[in-house]
C-alpha cells in the first residue's frame, strides 16, 4: 500500500513544499527514510514508532519506505514526524485515504503522541498549499495569520486520528490560538507586554536627540548617537518604534514569518502593527547578526529587525568584521547567505540605530576631557570603518543636561503627536515616488530635494571650508528634505532645515575632533 501526505519544511524564512510518500510492503520488517533527511529527520522513525504505540495504534511489522519528495533537496528538522505518521496509518489501512484528502500536516511528535510545534509554522503552512492544514496546538495562532488554508489542530496523535476518523469533533482552533498568544506574551517581558512602547514624552531636554529620532523615523535615516553612559542613548532608541508609522498587514506577516522561522515567539506588539525592535548584545557573532548556521539557515538579528529598528548599543565594541558585514545589507535591504548547501536571500531592511561612548573610558563628554590616551582614542576612532560611518545620515552627540537646566522645562510632545508628523512626512515622500527620503538617489536630489537660495549659500560655505564632502552633502540634503517634510514644506528646502541637518550630523565632528590637533 502507498500513501502520499502533503507537508513542508523551512529554508531560511521560506517554506518549501514536501510530499511525504510512505510505501508499506511485504519483506523483512524495517523502516527506511530516503530523500536527504538530516539527523533530526532520520530520527523520526523512533519518535513515530513510540508515538503510534503510545496512542494505541499499530506499528506494521513489514517493510516501510518513506520518501521525502522532491528527493534532491535536504530536509531539516522534526516537522515531518506528523506527516510520516499519518502516511503510515493510511498506508497500513488504519485511516482511509479519503479522510486526509486536501489536508496537509505539519508537526513534531512526542514519544507519548503529543503534537509539538516547530520553528517556522507560519511560512511552512503558507507553503503546504492544501485546502486545510493540521498544525500542532501551539502553532495555531501563527498558522491562522497566513489567512489561506483552513487551520485544524489537535493536542495529540490519538485526538487527531479520532477526529480524522470522524469519531470525535475537531478541537476548537480559536481556543488554541488564544492560548498560543498568551504564551507568546508571557515568554517575553511578562504581563506588561500588552502595553505600547515607551513614550517620547519621557525624554526631557534632549532637543537634538528628540529631533534626531523624529527625522530618522520620518526619512528612514540611519542614526548614530555618541555620548557618555547614562546620557539617554538607549532611552531615545527604544522610543523610535513608537513613532514609526504602523506596519501594513503585509509587513506584519513578513515580520511574523521571520520571527517564526527563527523559532522565536511572535512579537506581541508587532501583531498590532508596531515595528519590531531588536537590540543584540555586542558579543553577537556575524552569523547571529546576519543569519546562517548549521541546523537550518536561521535568520539573523538584521532580518528579525526588518520593518523595524536594529539597535546596536556599544557599537565600538562590536567586532570590526561583523560591523563591516552590515554594509551590504544596509545598501540592498536584503542579506544573501551563501553556504555549500544552499544560497538564500533573507529580508534585511531595517533602520539602524547605533550608540557608542565617545571614548573607551566613556567619560569623555562635552564638558570634561577624559583619561584616555591619544593612542586609545585613535584606536577607538578607527573601530568604525569609514564606509560604515558613511551609512549614518544622522550622527549626534548626546550628553546629560544638568538637573538645574531641566527643571521647569515644560512637558515634551508625546509619541502620538510626533508619530502623526512622521506619518504625514512619509506620505509626502511616497507622493514623490520614493519609499523614504533616505532612498532618494543622488541624481534625483536636484529634482526631489531642491534647495532655496539661502540654503544653497549656507551649504556651499561649508563645502568651501572643507567641512563637508560631496558625499556628505548628498546626505545632508536628504536629511534636510525630511526636516522640511516634517514641517509640511513641499517646495525647496529652506536654510533652517539645511542648518538643522548639519547640526544633526555634528557628531562626526566630535568623533574626529574633540581632541587636540595642532
Amino acid at each position: 500500500m502507498i500513501a502520499a501526505v502533503p507537508s513542508a519544511t523551512l529554508l531560511g524564512v521560506q517554506g518549501r513544499k514536501i510530499l511525504v510518500e510512505v510505501h508499506v510492503s511485504t519483506g523483512l520488517p524495517g523502516f527506511t527514510i530516503v530523500g536527504l533527511p538530516d539527523a533530526a529527520c532520520r530520527e523520526a522513525r523512533d519518535r513515530v514508532r513510540a508515538a503510534l504505540l503510545s496512542s494505541g495504534l499499530p506499528w506494521p511489522m513489514r517493510k516501510v519506505t518513506v520518501n521525502l519528495a522532491p528527493s534532491g533537496v535536504r530536509k531539516a528538522g522534526a516537522g515531518l514526524d506528523l506527516p510520516i505518521a499519518i502516511g503510515l496509518l493510511v498506508a497500513t489501512g488504519e485511516l482511509e485515504a479519503g479522510s486526509i484528502a486536501g489536508c496537509g500536516f505539519v508537526g513534531e511528535l512526542g514519544l507519548d503522541g503529543t503534537l509539538r510545534s516547530v520553528p517556522g509554522v507560519l511560512p511552512v503552512v503558507a507553503a503546504v498549499g492544501t485546502e486545510s492544514v493540521v498544525v500542532p496546538w501551539a502553532g495555531v495562532h501563527e498558522a491562522r495569520l497566513v489567512g489561506g488554508p483552513v487551520v485544524r489542530t489537535a493536542r495529540s496523535l490519538a485526538e487527531l486520528v479520532a477526529a480524522l476518523r470522524g469519531r470525535a469533533p475537531w478541537p476548537d482552533v480559536a481556543e488554541a490560538a488564544l492560548a498560543g498568544r498568551r504564551r507568546a506574551s508571557q515568554s517575553r517581558f511578562g504581563a506588561d507586554d500588552e502595553e505600547r512602547a515607551p513614550d517620547l514624552a519621557d525624554v526631557r531636554g534632549q532637543v537634538v536627540g528628540r529631533r534626531a529620532v523624529e527625522v530618522a523615523a520620518a526619512g528612514g535615516h540611519h542614526l548614530l548617537m555618541s555620548g557618555p553612559p547614562g546620557s539617554g542613548k538607549t532611552m531615545l532608541a527604544e522610543r523610535l518604534t513608537g513613532i514609526l508609522p504602523p506596519l501594513s498587514r503585509a509587513a506584519v506577516i513578513e515580520t511574523c514569518r521571520i520571527h517564526s522561522s527563527a523559532g522565536l515567539p511572535l512579537p506581541e506588539r508587532t501583531l498590532v502593527g508596531e515595528p519590531p525592535f531588536r537590540a543584540p548584545h555586542h558579543s553577537a557573532s556575524a552569523v547571529a547578526l546576519l543569519g546562517g548556521g548549521t541546523a537550518w539557515l536561521r535568520p539573523g538579528e538584521i532580518s528579525l529587525a526588518t520593518n523595524g529598528v536594529l539597535f546596536l548599543d556599544e557599537l565600538g565594541e562590536f567586532p570590526a568584521a561583523v560591523l563591516d558585514a552590515l554594509r551590504q545589507p544596509l545598501e540592498e535591504g536584503v542579506v544573501r547567505i551563501a553556504r555549500a548547501r544552499a544560497t538564500i536571500t533573507l529580508p534585511a531592511s531595517f533602520l539602524l540605530v547605533g550608540a557608542m561612548n565617545p571614548c573607551p573610558c566613556g567619560q569623555g563628554g562635552a564638558y570634561m576631557p577624559c583619561e584616555c590616551s591619544q593612542a586609545q582614542l585613535d584606536r577607538y576612532g578607527r573601530r568604525l570603518s569609514g564606509p560604515l560611518l558613511d551609512r549614518f545620515d544622522l550622527h549626534i552627540s548626546v550628553d546629560q543636561l544638568s538637573t538645574k537646566e531641566l527643571f521647569g522645562t515644560e512637558a515634551c510632545e508625546s509619541s502620538a503627536v510626533v508619530a502623526a508628523r512622521v506619518s504625514a512626512a512619509r506620505e509626502l515622500a511616497l507622493g514623490r515616488g520614493v519609499p523614504c527620503n533616505a532612498a532618494i538617489p543622488s541624481h534625483r536630489l536636484d529634482e526631489l530635494a531642491p534647495l532655496d537660495p539661502k540654503a544653497t549659500a549656507l551649504l556651499r560655505r561649508r563645502v568651501s571650508r572643507s567641512e563637508l564632502t560631496a558625499r556628505g552633502l548628498d546626505r545632508v540634503r536628504r536629511v534636510a528634505r525630511t526636516i522640511a517634510d516634517l514641517q509640511q514644506i513641499e517646495g525647496p528646502v529652506p536654510a533652517a532645515a539645511a542648518a538643522t541637518a548639519l547640526e544633526l550630523r555634528a557628531g562626526r565632528r566630535a568623533l574626529l575632533g574633540g581632541r587636540w590637533v595642532a
Partner: protein, 470 residues
C-alpha cells in the same frame, strides 16, 4: 659657546672604548685620562639610586674625575659626605627627593648618623662594583653615539638662570640645541587634563610668543604643555624651537602619545633633563623637573591648573625664585581653572589676557636685568607714542583688548535679535545645542541657523560635541 648637538663642553678627542680586561681596576685610572670631565660626572650620575641630591653632595664643585677616582679607591671621606645628606642613601629615591626639599643635611641623633654611615658605606660599595662593570669610556661613547649632550654646572653652555634654582642641578642632559636658552624665555605650564579653552589659549600664546623670538619652556606633558609646544611649532616666523624639560631620561618618550612632538622638538629646539638617559619618568622626578622650568623662565604663564595640580609646584618654585607669574583666568565653574583663579585672587599672579600681557611682563623683567629688549614686535598696536617697552606697557594689553572688544561689539550689533539671544545662550565653555534650545526657547531650526551665522562671524566655534563662545 654654543652646544650644537655635541656632547659636553671642551671635549677632548674621544678615547676608543678600552677592552674591559681583568687588569683594569680602580687602581688604574690613567686609562681614561683623555675623557672630558663631564664624562666622569655622567658616569657618576648614571649609577643606580643616584639622585640629583646625592650627585650634588658627592661632586660638591670638585672635578668629577677626582670624585670618581675616590669612589673607585673606596675613599672613606665619601661616606661622611653621603651620610651628612641625611636620610638613607639607599632609601627610596622619592623619599630622598622629599627629604631634599625640606631640611636636608641636618644631622640627626648620633645613632641615626651611625645608621646613615653604614648605609652610605653599602651604597658606595654597590656603586663601585657597578662602575667596575661598565667602563666609563663605554658609557661616554654610548651617550655620544645617541646624540645626547651633557653640561655641568660651571660650563659655559650651562644655562645661567638655573643657578638661581633652590638646588642647582649639577648635570643636565640634552638633545637638540641648548644655545637658545640665552634668548628671553617664557614658561607655559598647566594641567594635563585641560579643556579646549586652555588648549587653545596655550597654543595661541606659544605661537604668538615664538613668532616674536621668545623661547617657550614647558614640560612636554599631555594637555597644556603639549599644546604650547604645538603652538610654537606652528608659529609662522619662528626663530627658536621650543625648550622642553622632561622628568625622565631624554631618551624615554613619555607620554607615548607625544612621540611625534618629541622628535619635532629635538630637531627644532631642545629637550633637557636632569635625569640620566634611560631613567624612567617616575613621579618623584616631576616636582624636580618643575623647579627647572621655573628657574629657566623669565615669566611663567599658568594656563589652567587645579588647586592641587603639578603646575602649582612650578608656581611655588617660580615665586621662590622671583619669577613673575601670569595666570589665565577661567570660568569659576571649571575645575581646571580653580588653581589659576585662586592665585589671581590671592595676588600671586598677574592676569594674562593675550600675548601683550606676557610681553609687557617680560619687558619689565628684561629691563631690570639690563638685558636689551630686542623683539621688534613688542610695540603697542595703538597710538601710544613710539612703542618702546618702557612706558605704559601696562596699557598695551588694555589698548588691544579694547579695540578687539569694540570690533566684536560692532559685529554683535549687526546681528539679529535671534542671533544675539543664541549668542547669549552659548557659554565660554562647551555648550550643547540642546541647552541653547532650552535657554532660548527657540526651535532647533532657528538655533541651527543662528549658530551657523555666528560661526561664520567668528563669534562661536564648534568644540566637537557642542559650541563655545569665542
Amino acid at each position: 659657546m654654543s652646544e650644537l648637538g655635541g656632547a659636553g663642553s671642551g671635549n677632548a678627542p674621544r678615547q676608543p672604548a678600552a677592552p674591559g680586561g681583568a687588569g683594569r681596576g680602580p687602581g688604574m685610572p690613567g686609562a681614561e685620562v683623555e675623557l672630558p670631565d663631564v664624562a666622569f660626572a655622567a658616569a657618576l650620575a648614571a649609577l643606580g639610586h643616584m639622585t640629583p641630591a646625592r650627585l650634588r653632595v658627592l661632586l660638591d664643585g670638585r672635578l668629577a674625575r677626582e670624585v670618581y677616582d675616590q669612589l673607585m679607591a673606596g675613599d672613606p671621606s665619601l661616606i661622611e659626605v653621603l651620610a651628612r645628606l641625611g636620610g638613607s642613601a639607599r632609601s627610596s629615591p622619592s623619599q630622598q627627593a622629599l627629604d631634599m626639599e625640606v631640611n636636608w643635611g641636618a644631622s640627626g641623633s648620633l645613632g641615626a648618623m651611625e645608621r646613615a654611615r653604614a648605609q652610605a658605606r653599602d651604597s658606595l660599595r654597590a656603586w663601585r662594583a657597578e662602575a667596575i662593570r661598565t667602563p666609563i669610556s663605554q658609557r661616554w661613547a654610548e651617550l655620544r653615539a645617541r646624540g645626547i649632550g651633557v653640561v655641568r654646572r660651571g660650563d659655559a653652555a650651562y644655562p645661567q638662570r638655573l643657578l638661581r634654582a633652590r638646588q642647582v642641578p649639577e648635570l643636565l642632559y640634552f638633545r637638540g640645541r641648548l644655545d637658545h636658552v640665552s634668548a628671553p624665555c617664557v614658561g607655559i605650564v598647566g594641567t594635563r587634563r585641560a579643556t579646549h579653552y586652555g588648549l587653545e589659549v596655550a597654543a595661541e600664546l606659544g605661537r604668538e610668543l615664538a613668532s616674536r623670538g621668545i623661547v617657550i619652556v614647558s614640560g612636554l606633558a599631555r594637555g597644556i604643555d603639549a599644546a604650547a609646544h604645538h603652538g610654537v611649532l606652528a608659529a609662522p616666523q619662528r626663530v627658536n624651537g621650543p625648550l622642553a624639560v622632561v622628568g625622565g631620561g631624554v631618551d624615554i618618550v613619555y607620554p607615548r602619545e607625544n612621540r611625534r612632538l618629541w622628535e619635532d622638538i629635538v630637531s627644532t629646539g631642545g629637550l633637557i633633563s636632569e635625569a640620566p638617559p634611560g631613567a624612567p619618568a617616575e613621579s618623584w622626578r616631576f616636582p624636580l623637573r618643575n623647579r627647572i622650568i621655573a628657574a629657566l623662565s623669565q615669566v611663567l604663564v599658568v594656563v589652567e591648573s587645579s588647586r592641587q595640580g603639578g603646575a602649582m609646584h612650578t608656581v611655588l618654585a617660580a615665586d621662590a625664585y622671583g619669577v613673575p607669574i601670569l595666570a589665565l583666568p577661567g570660568s569659576v565653574r571649571s575645575p581646571q581653572s580653580e588653581g589659576t583663579n585662586a592665585i589671581i585672587q590671592e595676588g600671586g599672579a598677574g592676569v594674562v589676557l593675550d600675548v601683550h600681557d606676557v610681553l609687557a611682563a617680560l619687558g619689565l623683567v628684561c629691563m631690570a636685568d639690563g638685558t636689551p629688549v630686542s623683539f621688534s614686535s613688542f610695540r603697542r598696536p595703538t597710538a601710544h607714542g613710539d612703542g618702546g617697552p618702557a612706558g605704559g606697557s601696562g596699557q598695551v594689553a588694555a589698548g588691544t583688548g579694547a579695540s578687539i572688544g569694540a570690533e566684536r561689539q560692532r559685529v554683535i550689533a549687526g546681528c539679529t535679535p535671534t542671533e544675539r539671544a543664541v549668542l547669549d545662550a552659548v557659554d565660554y565653555t562647551t555648550t550643547l545645542l540642546d541647552l541653547v534650545c532650552l535657554r532660548t526657547k527657540l526651535d532647533l531650526g532657528a538655533v541651527a541657523l543662528a549658530i551657523d551665522r555666528l560661526d561664520e562671524l567668528g563669534l562661536v566655534r564648534s568644540s566637537g560635541a557642542g559650541w563655545v563662545r569665542f
